[in-house]
Symmetry: none
Subunit: 248 residues, 2 copies
DNA sequence: GTAAAAATTGCAGAAAAACGCAAATTATTA
DNA sequence: TAATAATTTGCGTTTTTCTGCAATTTTTAC
């Protein structure tokens, strides 16, 4: 039995019972507990489960999304800070989801008067208390891993709006391959978002630079701004400098 | 049973009852009180509860200033507890918003397989981690005071679905006047919700009994169940007893 | 003030994890 | 195809973690 097979088996058990024991898995898969532990360590590092003494637990059950700490929060705050400077009074804005986008929402000044469309319930809730904002949450099926609304109805609703500026997070970003993502539903929605706007702003921490995911969202000629926390003339950004994009 | 499992169990009990006893937990989890005390100490040190002699207390309940306090939370939890007993495997459920509904969402067991439509981002986020639930958030303009989605698009989307059971909170409830509310947008949405379902379950703490708001949502012949925290033959419920409604 | 209940502390046995290493398997290259 | 390199796996040893028990101290209740 191959490693990948064990991994999928383990994840199935996790999703079924919310927990697994190293000893059980060792018996069921006919490998030593050492091997199981190594498997669990890998799955833990890639964030798919939570390894504990004796086995592993479902991450979602024991650590709900909203109480997770934000990874690389400082960098994301810097990125968000740059981004909000692009928002002007009276604008119609569209935002995606993700932790960077939530940081952005937290930074929106209370005095701003604008209209925000979003597919993220978390972003919407951050903005709802702002007195001068109109917040419109585009509904759909709530994606379990991305925590944004996805599906045909979202794409349909997006096709009927036209906004001034759209802020998007990126999972994979590469000078050649453009913006990429690993979840099919998410890619579909992001594509629809890009169609609904005149300015596309990509937010991404530098760590994700030069990484490529399974599916393409768009290439760089559809992007108007790219924001990261690095200095614009940093070596890692050299490959982007020739493009017709504003780098912040 | 693994340590972390005990921790989640303890936190669930804390969130449900606002307090736990070491002796109870020892029995329920089949471990010595020593172990429970060690668990409680760890959870206390990480700030998740408040350890006291004999057990532990919910932090939010006893120090409500940190988080936004839920008014009459105990009563709302009792109401929600009754309500979830109406949800059966495989059902299609529609829920409104409000604090009672969020308590209900928190109590949904992880093992339930069902489809949830909701107009409340907070309810949706509570449910999104449940592995077997499909959560569909009906989008629209996010109402600043009710924290639910409202507007024509919500009503339109609601007109296109048909659910088994619909849970609704009530601001005003009166034997003569029926269910009433003070926000026009909210009333419109609630009316649309009632049209989309076969069973209408009203959840309300007894305090709101016999109060009448500005606008009518519906009268009692559209309601199938009414849940409050009082004993069914309590005097205050006398006026409802003749109606064709199940009172819980 | 006394007795009962609960908490703390130290300790020991058991279970699990980490580590290093060797054998076996798989992939890569000539 | 053979040889080499890289990865994976299992085993023995050491280290750490977990848990219950007993003795002692502290808190609570009557």
């Amino acid at each position: 039995m191959l490693k990948k097979e064990r991994h999928t088996y383990i994840m199935k058990q996790i999703n079924l019972h919310n927990k697994v024991l190293s000893s059980d898995l060792s018996q069921q898969l006919n490998v030593s507990e050492d091997t199981i532990r190594r498997d669990l360590n890998e799955l833990d590092e890639s964030g798919k489960l939570l390894k504990v003494h004796g086995g592993a637990l479902s991450k979602s059950y024991h650590f709900p999304f909203h109480q997770n700490e934000v990874y690389a929060q400082e960098a994301k705050k810097q990125v968000a800070l740059k981004a909000i400077q692009l928002i002007k009074e009276g604008m119609v804005v569209l935002t995606g989801g993700g932790t960077t986008m939530i940081e952005l929402a937290k930074m929106i000044p209370f005095s701003l008067e604008a209209t925000f469309f979003t597919i993220s319930p978390l972003v919407a809730l951050e903005l709802v208390e702002h007195p001068k904002l109109t917040v419109i949450l585009i509904g759909g099926q709530l994606s379990k891993n991305a925590q944004i609304n996805v599906g045909a109805s979202v794409i349909n609703d997006l096709s009927e709006i036209k906004v001034d500026i759209c802020f998007l997070g990126a999972n994979g970003i590469d000078a050649k391959e453009g913006i990429t993502d690993s979840d099919w539903e998410v890619v579909q929605v992001k594509k629809a978002m890009i169609k609904s706007t005149s300015k596309v702003v990509i937010l991404s921490i530098s760590e994700k630079l030069n990484s490529v995911q399974k599916m393409r969202v768009c290439n760089f000629n559809q992007v108007t701004h790219f924001i990261t926390e690095l200095n614009p003339n940093h070596a890692n950004l050299a490959s982007f400098s020739e493009m017709n994009i504003q780098i912040l």
